[in-house]
Symmetry: C2
Subunit: 224 residues, 2 copies
């Protein structure tokens, strides 16, 4: 293992200094590298429980799915983040089920469930880490819930476009209306209608599979 990888492991797992040598070696000898393709399914609610993921590259999306196929994004994780809900079977008080997909081609370290569970049971600092990480996600979910329940739709769409543009450092967002709808938990028709309105107002320019922000100032004004 190279130094960069080792550093990622020892800094991301904040319980590292509270492990004894045997426990440290248990992780180092059993951690595996995994690669996910764009759109690949990582975790299915209820069925899989692969283990804890340390994301090295790319990004993953956690969401819930209704019986009739509606899809609600709960949060997204990127490089340097730890995904604990892919090992949710270990945390007995998690009674809900989520789906996790790779949003882009992604690389991660995987600590398999059996290994993580052993450490979680014998070392309270590991248990603690799992809980703390889960509560971070609780905060994310509350944020998503408030967005969905309370915010008017033009606001939600404007926030998404501005965030996406600043994240990719580009005025052009390469996403279809369908994809945008998925990310902000809406329907494609609703997104298309609002984007068309934004376009007629000169705030954006639309083309196949992309949205270009023309007037960020006006979009930002929607947020107040």
């Amino acid at each position: 293992m190279n130094t960069t990888d080792r550093n990622l492991i020892t800094t991301t797992l904040t319980f590292w200094d509270n492990l004894n040598e045997t426990e440290k070696n248990l992780i180092l000898n059993n951690i595996t590298s995994v690669n996910y393709q764009l759109g690949e399914h990582i975790h299915s609610s209820g069925t899989d429980c692969i283990g804890v993921l340390l994301i090295k590259k790319g990004g993953i999306r956690t969401y819930i799915l209704s019986e009739d196929g509606r899809d609600i994004t709960l949060y997204r994780l990127t490089a340097g983040d730890v995904c604990i809900l892919s090992a949710s079977c270990i945390l007995k008080n998690i009674t809900f089920a989520v789906h996790i997909d790779a949003e882009v081609a992604s690389e991660a370290f995987l600590i398999h469930t059996s290994i993580f569970e052993q450490l979680y049971r014998q070392n309270i600092y590991v248990e603690n880490f799992a809980y703390k990480n889960t509560i971070d996600r609780f905060s994310d979910v509350m944020w998503a819930m408030e967005q969905i329940l309370f915010m008017s739709f033009d606001k939600r769409l404007a926030i998404f476009l501005l965030k996406e543009s600043s994240k990719t450092n580009s005025s052009t967002i390469h996403l279809s209306h369908e994809q945008i709808a998925k990310y902000i938990s809406s329907a494609r028709e609703v997104v298309s209608r609002m984007l068309k309105y934004f376009a007629t107002e000169g705030m954006v320019k639309l083309a196949r599979g992309e949205v270009t922000l023309l007037d960020k100032e006006r979009l930002e004004k929607l947020l107040v």
Copy 2:
């Protein structure tokens, strides 16, 4: 302190056996009894941080409130439950804000924030307890979210009526349409319309401030 009270404290606080004598006395000497009237506000998002509540009698409701006053019930706690979000300022990774009200006249023990925070910082079992309890609430919130987002309204109302009836051990539910709407995060008009439909179908009987379940079997059929 009588034995019942002491037992409630030592069994509800599952970290009790991991406290030393000084820590145990810190709790026993500083815990206070609090009483809340029906509807009394216990915790306001962002401002209060009274401490951890051990509910002895009654029940409390946790909810979020939008800028325009919409009210979404997240979960309810009753006798024997521990309320940790009334001390959420201690958990730095809780970035959201909730409201907590007494649903009925209630009695509780209060461990003030300063005392709980001291124990939380010096004893990892206390920290652990706080996290675990918070994750229980995370599961509650996910359940609420799924109810709100995905379930058709007749189902949601039927579930509420059946649960309420079994909880109070009575076929008659003493709640106004307004109150029911609040509990299931809907609008009074929507609740009234659906209850009227249930009534014409002979499933319930309506009177001022109450709903009587006449045909539980048919209500249960709505759930499948």
